[in-house]
């Protein structure tokens, strides 16, 4: 049996669709139940157990080997840096991590810029790579409120359609990174189920366009 961790919420749909297209049909998955089993009539040729978990918790479950593999946002992986394999990024459900401000250019400031983000470690790395050494303020939601309410000069946050930015008259100064649902595997599970997972990953590669 192979245990999958799938994200609750908006990422569940794209993850299920990608797996179904690759031959792992999770027909009847009940998003209100934590743990469900599916028979072995699938591309893996073994029964599958699915655990529905929060995106931010999934890497830890994979590292511990509680789940063999999972689909997790690359934003969560970049922030938490788990010791897991990352064989594939999915095409569906991609977004971008952007530098956002009230002005089209980076605000001028005599001191250090302040940036609001839910990804303090990742944002600091990305901005430092651009020679922007900022004071990072960790917010857990409504990141755009940082610059709007003058808590910070800029925000570093996920942009999907840009609707939120337009609604608040904010500007996307620069795209810092692409965010993609990522297939991750526990190290030991990769070796234990290598042949089976290789079949699924190959099918996923064929169904996804794969390229960034």
């Amino acid at each position: 049996m192979i245990t999958f961790g799938l994200p609750k919420g908006r990422n569940l749909g794209p993850a299920r669709a990608s797996l179904a297209a690759a031959g792992l049909n999770l027909e009847g998955l009940d998003s209100s139940r934590l743990r469900q089993r599916f028979p072995d009539q699938n591309v893996l040729g073994t029964p599958v157990e699915v655990l529905l978990l929060k995106d931010w918790d999934l890497p830890l479950y994979v590292e511990h080997g509680i789940v063999d593999c999972a689909i997790v946002g690359s934003d969560v992986l970049e922030e938490t840096q788990p010791d897991v394999f990352r064989p594939l990024q999915l095409k569906d459900g991609r977004s971008r991590l952007s530098l956002i401000a009230e002005t089209p250019e980076l605000p001028k400031r005599s001191g250090q810029l302040r940036a609001a983000t839910r990804y303090p470690a990742w944002a600091a790395r990305l901005l430092a790579a651009r020679n922007l050494h900022v004071e990072v303020i960790h917010l857990t939601s409504s990141i755009e409120l940082g610059p709007l309410l003058d808590l910070t000069d800029v925000a570093v946050d996920i942009v999907q359609t840009g609707g939120t930015l337009r609604a608040h008259d904010l500007h996307e100064i620069e795209v810092l990174a692409t965010v993609a649902p990522t297939f991750v595997v526990n190290r030991a599970s990769f070796h234990a189920h290598r042949r089976r997972l290789s079949g699924l990953l190959g099918a996923l590669e064929e169904t996804e366009t794969g390229d960034d």
């Binding site: 590292e63 080997g65 064989p87 190290r187 030991a188 990769f190 189920h193």
Partner: protein, 334 residues
């Protein structure tokens, strides 16, 4: 005054039954090692920092707990047995009768991020074979590695298709992908590509023409590895010989160059400063289902002696004793 029973982060005490279980496992493994002609060495917990500068690089050096002693000497707590043993033996190689078979057990301390199953102080048991014919020594030490694993696991209930109970040992050669990485990505990007392949990134591997390496562990055409092709060809032969001997015992042996992609030797790639940085030939690691980390790792490290101005072939390995205990307990439960 109320006394806290707490311990520093990353440290634990083995009390009562857990202490008994660990000592029993140590005794079983030590008996096997003694039967194979290995002699135990007892190494100090404290050492000078200076000898480790040329032996350890990058992350491993940073992980050492170091402090200034009252007489002003910069000291370290033991973070690894192998380099300590090498630095003690290197000045006396002329006086030693080779081959030399040694084993050790004890705790090491490393300041490292806490991960599942990874403490800052943990117990290791390992063995080293110095001198002798290299190919013969590699095979002998791999055989010992498998036998110790099986001794720790006990009777394995191999059930169903066996896959879920099989121990997996992956073999590789340090730096085997260096030439291919440089050819595919150039000097500036080779390091990043090495890390991506080590993470089994299929897209990056496919673009680099190394899809085989992440899918089945090594390229169908070994000539893409340049000078390392011959060593990998010999490794495939070693895998076949050992596989036929250990398959019935539930040990699956694979050649997986991706596993050791970041253990580069070419300074232009520059990712060889990681935890396996001192290996320069055969490398191996063992995994069991349900464990978060490799149960044991090992390899050939002749370059450690070369950097100590000694000339001695050396191959060895170490196991995490707590992980081996988990392995035995998991098999007993199943």
């Amino acid at each position: 005054m109320k006394i806290s029973a707490g311990l520093p982060t990353g440290v634990s005490a083995a009390l009562f039954d857990s202490a008994r279980r660990r000592r029993r496992l140590e005794a079983r493994l030590s008996t096997l090692l003694e039967e194979r002609g290995f002699a135990e060495v007892l190494l100090p917990i404290l050492d000078y920092f200076e000898p480790y500068r040329p032996l350890l690089t990058g992350r491993r050096l940073e992980q050492l707990y170091r402090f200034v002693d009252r007489d002003g000497q910069l000291l370290v707590l033991r973070g690894d047995f192998t380099p300590m043993l090498a630095r003690l033996l290197a000045p006396h190689l002329d006086e030693l009768e080779l081959p030399l078979r040694l084993y050790y057990r004890g705790d090491v301390v490393r300041h490292q991020p806490l991960r599942p199953g990874r403490m800052r102080e943990y117990s290791q048991l390992g063995a080293e074979l110095l001198g002798g014919d290299e190919a013969e020594a590699d095979e002998r030490m791999l055989t010992l590695f498998f036998d110790l694993l099986l001794e720790a696991r006990g009777e394995a209930p191999v059930s169903g298709d066996g896959e879920e109970h099989t121990l997996r040992v992956v073999l590789g050669v340090a730096g085997a992908l260096d030439e291919a990485l440089l050819a595919a990505a150039g000097e500036r990007e080779a390091s990043d590509l090495a890390l991506r392949i080590a993470s089994r990134d299929r897209t990056a591997a496919r673009r680099a023409g190394l899809a085989d390496v992440v899918e089945r562990g090594y390229p169908a055409d070994l000539s893409v590895l340049g000078g390392a092709g011959e060593a990998v060809s010999e490794l495939l032969g070693l895998r076949d010989r050992l596989s036929s001997a250990y398959r019935d015992a539930g040990v699956e042996i694979e050649v997986d160059l991706a596993e050791f992609a970041a253990a580069a030797l070419d300074p232009r790639i520059g990712v060889g400063d990681g935890r396996r940085g001192y290996y320069d030939g055969l490398m191996f690691a063992a995994y069991a289902p349900g464990t978060a980390l490799a149960l044991g790792v090992g390899g050939r490290y002749d370059k450690v002696f070369r950097s100590l101005s000694g000339d001695c072939s050396a191959v060895g390995f170490s196991f995490g004793l707590d992980l081996l205990l988990e392995l035995g307990a998991a098999e007993a439960r199943s």
